[in-house]
């Protein structure tokens, strides 16, 4: 194991097997203790966990990090016996919670000691009413009705959901659902709360909500364990445990891990922006937020102050509708587009003008419910607008016939599993071209081409359901690419992927764009916009609020705040110095130049 585990705060660990080493007697056991725990799923020879030994002090917060498949979820599932009582396999070692050995206990018996929140928020909510949802576990333990009713309010308040008692969980946003799941776990008053990738499927707003709730839970004497592959949010943890291929590779306070970017990269993680900037500037200290980072940078470099308030004036959004390259109409264009859903009183889209030209890379951003997906579906021809015009190659859509549904405009849905059904990867790709009436030879040719393009050639005969999430996402792109679209619309293409897979996915999208395919990408992820898009369209309440270059977009903090679009940390830091950098590297160059 790498790294020094005996940090100043924990030197006692080497002297005693007890968290409070100064006392003669052992006043309290470790909150959680794993001794040489190994586990392999089913008959697999590859262990998912390998000889993990870990001790967690009561009342502390531990972040468990690592790439997909590193063993993070398996590790935390040993804490309530889901592994090995529920997931069959070979288990070795010993797990203790609150000093008690778990051998032979049932999962449900541990629910009052170890609360667990899972990644898939849809799969852990069982009721049609928030109060009933919180009551569910309490009912299982046969608590009296009055006691159940007493616990609901505080549990919901703890996660900021007071007043939601009568809401139907299906009407909540992803962040609210996940907070509800946390409230459900809290209601049983567990000593240990485990959050297993609670924000992987959430947008930045939902992530922020969940992490705000988690921060509120600290300090109540409860031990928190949070599994994540994004280090940015874990700076607040007491310690981080880094897993790689089932082994505990490093365990220390966050600052010590952030100080080792090569280890972070080797484990397939993304170093937080601020840590990257400081490291590249040769600053050894670690900043938890932009304020601290600014102070550290200014301590070393003399830099200008922020641009005066309103320095990035918020004038009218640059209008781009109807702009064309000489002699060529836009690939797809909407004018004064309006759309109202039958059951809704207000319009989902209102007077939207937008033109996308060949070869563009547009990021379509906005809050949940701002109309992004609706607009994208109108562009793809899936939704009929109530008002306005839709032009493809300058022709009214009616004149263009159904060609937009037959290959010209491709649409990759957020969840790749919403389109995959065939028995093999190759069959899946040939499905679309076959629907267009292409011959066997032609579909085979197209399959060959796109399989090579997305890097799935080696698995062409495999069952798509056996692929990893990242591979399935690339397969979904490939299946649409086989239709040879000139415009590819991607709805949140990186949701649920770890950093390495996100990079791989985006490298593919960027390459397709270089080959001339126009890209419209719906995303909530700030660094994706900064790193890949060249133009941003911001929707707000069904209206277009901004349409222009990325740097100009990121230079309007007020507008971004109102649209709940978090700046990349490097960009936020750069604005403290009166500039707008799109990445950590760019900021470092700028600082060196202007200091």
């Amino acid at each position: 194991m790498e790294g020094d585990r005996r940090t100043p705060s924990r030197q006692a660990q080497g002297l005693s097997d007890c968290p409070a080493a100064s006392a003669n007697a052992c006043p309290a056991p470790w909150a959680v203790e794993l001794r040489r725990v190994s586990f392999a799923y089913g008959a697999s020879a590859e262990p998912a966990l390998c000889e993990v030994t870990l001790k967690i002090e009561p009342g502390t917060m531990l972040g468990v990090v690592g790439a997909s498949g590193a063993g993070k979820s398996t590790l935390v599932k040993t804490l309530n016996r889901l592994v090995p009582a529920f997931e069959a396999g070979r288990f070795e070692g010993e797990v203790r919670v609150g000093g008690r050995r778990l051998d032979g206990l049932r999962v449900c018996e541990l629910a009052r000691e170890v609360g667990m929140v899972f990644q898939d928020f849809e799969a852990q909510l069982f009721s049609t009413n928030v109060a009933h949802e919180v009551a569910f576990a309490l009912e299982q333990f046969a608590l009296a009705r009055q006691e159940i009713a007493r616990r609901i309010g505080p549990a919901l308040s703890a996660v900021g959901l007071a007043g939601f008692e009568r809401r139907d969980p299906t009407t909540l946003s992803g962040g609210e659902k996940q907070r509800l799941a946390i409230a459900c776990a809290l209601a049983t008053e567990p000593a240990v709360l485990v959050l297993d990738e609670p924000t992987t499927d959430l947008d930045p707003q939902g992530r922020a909500e969940v992490f705000a709730a988690v921060r509120r839970l600290r300090g109540a004497g409860r031990t928190l364990i949070i599994v994540e592959h994004d280090l940015e949010e874990l700076a607040v943890c007491d310690r981080l445990a880094l897993l790689k291929e089932g082994r505990l590779t490093f365990e220390a306070p966050p600052a010590e891990l952030f100080a080792r970017p090569e280890l972070v990269a080797r484990c397939g993680l993304r170093l937080p922006d601020l840590a990257a900037v400081l490291k590249q500037l040769g600053i050894e200290e670690i900043a938890r937020d932009v304020d601290e980072a600014e102070a550290l940078v200014r301590g070393r470099y003399t830099l200008p102050g922020p641009a005066p308030a309103g320095g990035s004036p918020e004038g009218p959004a640059p209008g781009r509708a109807g702009q064309t390259k000489i002699g060529r109409p836009p690939l797809v264009e909407v004018r004064q587009l309006g759309l109202a859903y039958p059951a809704s009183a207000s319009e989902a889209l209102s007077a939207v003008d937008l033109a996308v030209e060949a070869g563009e890379f547009v990021a379509l951003v906005g809050k949940n419910g701002s109309g992004k997906s609706t607009l994208a579906k109108v562009l793809a021809g899936l939704l009929e607008p109530s008002r306005g015009r839709l032009l493809v190659d300058g022709k009214e859509r009616s004149a263009a016939g159904r060609s937009h549904l037959k290959g010209d405009i491709g649409y990759v849905f957020q969840n790749p599993d919403h389109q995959i059904f065939a028995a093999s990867v190759e069959e899946e790709i040939r499905f679309g071209p076959r629907n267009l009436g292409l011959s066997h030879r032609q579909t085979a040719e197209r399959a060959d081409q796109v399989l090579a393009a997305v890097g799935l050639d080696a698995v062409r005969q495999r069952d798509p359901f056996l692929l990893s999430k990242g591979e399935r996402q690339r397969l979904a792109v490939a299946a649409v690419l086989a239709l040879r679209p000139r415009l590819l619309i991607l709805d949140e293409p990186t949701t649920g992927l770890d950093y390495r897979e996100q990079r791989r996915m985006m490298a593919l999208v960027a390459e397709l764009n270089r080959q001339g395919i126009a890209i419209v990408m719906i995303t909530h992820t700030p660094w994706l916009v900064a790193d890949y898009a060249r133009r941003v369209v911001l929707l707000d309440n069904g209206r277009k609020r901004f349409d222009g270059p990325v740097r100009e977009f990121l230079g309007r903090p007020q507008m971004l705040a109102e649209s709940a679009f978090g700046l990349p940390a490097a960009t936020a830091l750069s604005q403290r110095f009166g500039t707008t950098a799109l990445s950590a590297g760019e900021l470092v160059c700028w600082i060196r130049k202007h200091s």
Binding site: V107, C108, F118, A142, A149, R166, L405, N415, H418, A479
Partner: protein, 261 residues
Amino acid sequence: MPIYLYIEGESWLHRLHPVVKVWALFAAFWSVYWVDQPLALVPLGLLMTVAAQAGGAWANFYRLRYLFAGVVFFTALSWMVFYRQGTPLIDTPLVRVSRASLLFGFGRGLKLAELLGTSVLFLSSTKIEEFGAGLTRLGVPYRVGFAITLAFRLVPLFIDSALTVVQAQRLRGYEFRRGGPLARMRRYVPVVVPVFMEALRKANAMAMALEARGFGAGGRPTSLIDRELRRSDRMAVALLGGLAVAYFLIYYAGYGAIRPD
């Protein structure tokens, strides 16, 4: 996608104990069973109208108006094939229309419509959890009641996911409406398979989440909803009992049947 009929509210209909509501369903079924004569079905219809007004359920009746009309019409039609009594007005080998068959068919159609109306009232004012708690109170094992409520919750999720799959496959050039009825049925495969597989992916996660939340921790689970019957509940039970007896008396007195001649 709003597919359930429940309307949030605090009316007396909403506040009735779930067991009383199940009893109301039974009383209505019992009552219509004994009579075929359309006139005899009118009092129950009026009672339902009052309940719909009090329970704020009109929106659902309006929403389902075509279903109500269809139920009456087609049930009447189908009984004209089988009920071949009375002096024929129109006589064909398939359908025989007489005053008696018209009355009989209309009565049975009305009967089904009233049953439908009862269930609309029930669903407009009863949450799925209340239904589950009511079933448990009536002796249905807890786990069966839970599976029913869970299934109810999953239906809209799966429908949404099926709608997305339909869109995704359409964009890949797939046409669902090609070919005859059998060919069309086969064309469901690219939709059903993704929905099915997504459901299976969820199955494991759900079972894990259930166990992690104490499902099966032992003992008979309590319920946040379940409570003792109130005075209003008991009064409703008595009223419904009276209704059931009254309808049996209508039958017994011979006013409920259709006389062919």
